[in-house]
Amino acid sequence: MNYLDSLVIIAVAGLIHASFQLSVSMLTLLSSHTIGRRRSQARLLALMNSFTLGAAVMTVLLLSFAALVVSLSLDTRQNTLLAWTVTCGLLGGVGLAVWLFYYRREVGTTLWIPRGMARFLNRRAKSTKDPTEAFGLGLISVLAELLFVLAPILVAALVLVELPTTWQLVGIALYTVVSLLSLFVVNAWIGSGHSISRVQRWRESNKRFLQFAAGSGLLILGFYLYVDHVVTVTALAAAGGAL
């Protein structure tokens, strides 16, 4: 696999990560409460940027940690094959879970997370007044969705460890930027003075499409990687052994 192929896979994994909505929901809530309290535009921007920075830091930490674990545990070709097989299975499973459970079957954009947790996050978003708290909220928003974001992060980690060190940094930066695209868009939209209700209406009316796209993306990526990294490698090894 050349560098371009690797970076494309990392970007696709990041794009799937970006389609998960908890961080966007929390950023919407945070800015809604901030504007509703007549806080200044500077304060609003500080809170939103801190939140986005928090989400970025947690994404970098999770990806780096996953890459470290992968690089320490993949010592033989057998282990590498096993890791790719497990990850592809995980992608398929998470893809189906996204199709079935990601959004609740009710109005609004209520997500799969337990209602008690959702109320807690709602309260935290409401009471966040300080950029440091917003930073923490950004960290939590990525961590709380670990169940779903783990699959694309593992894919990116497996691809990263095959790259030279400099390209690993490029890969981490690429994944982080792509995975935060939805936050950047919402940040720019609200920061430039547009209405939050339009963001929320758009999200509500397109939630089934986003759910379908995320689930399909995971399944397609899982299938492609299984063929490319497991079936092809096994077939080539078998053919090499037969010759």
Binding site: L22, S25, M26, T28, L29, S32, H33, I35, G36, R37, R38, E106, V107, G108, T109, T110, L111, I113, A118, R119, L121, N122, G193, S195, I196, S197, R198, Q200, R201, E204
Partner: protein, 91 residues
């Protein structure tokens, strides 16, 4: 005097407080970037509608108050009404 039964009956009922309706409607209007004066006027009008509706009732649920306030707000500011109705359905 009208008592408000809190969500799912888990918290103790409390006396109806018009200022709570006023401040939540005002916040919803400000959240969609309405000017402060407009937000105050709309909040006062919605508050009147809710107070009139509640006048003859011994007890109501907080959900009922929210529903009536949202319906009244819809007439004055649909965007704010949308946020008001959906504020707990975002996450």
């Amino acid at each position: 005097m009208t008592y408000v039964i809190k969500r799912a009956g888990k918290r103790q009922a409390e006396e109806f407080a018009p200022h709570k309706v006023h401040s939540s409607v005002r916040s919803a209007c400000l959240s969609v970037r309405s000017p402060e004066g407009e937000a105050e006027t709309i909040a006062a009008r919605v508050g009147d509608v809710v107070s009139q509706w509640i006048h003859t009732k011994p007890s109501v649920t907080s959900h009922d108050i929210r529903r009536v306030a949202a319906t009244a707000l819809e007439a004055f500011h649909p965007e704010a009404a949308y946020l008001y109705q959906n504020h707990e359905l975002v996450v």
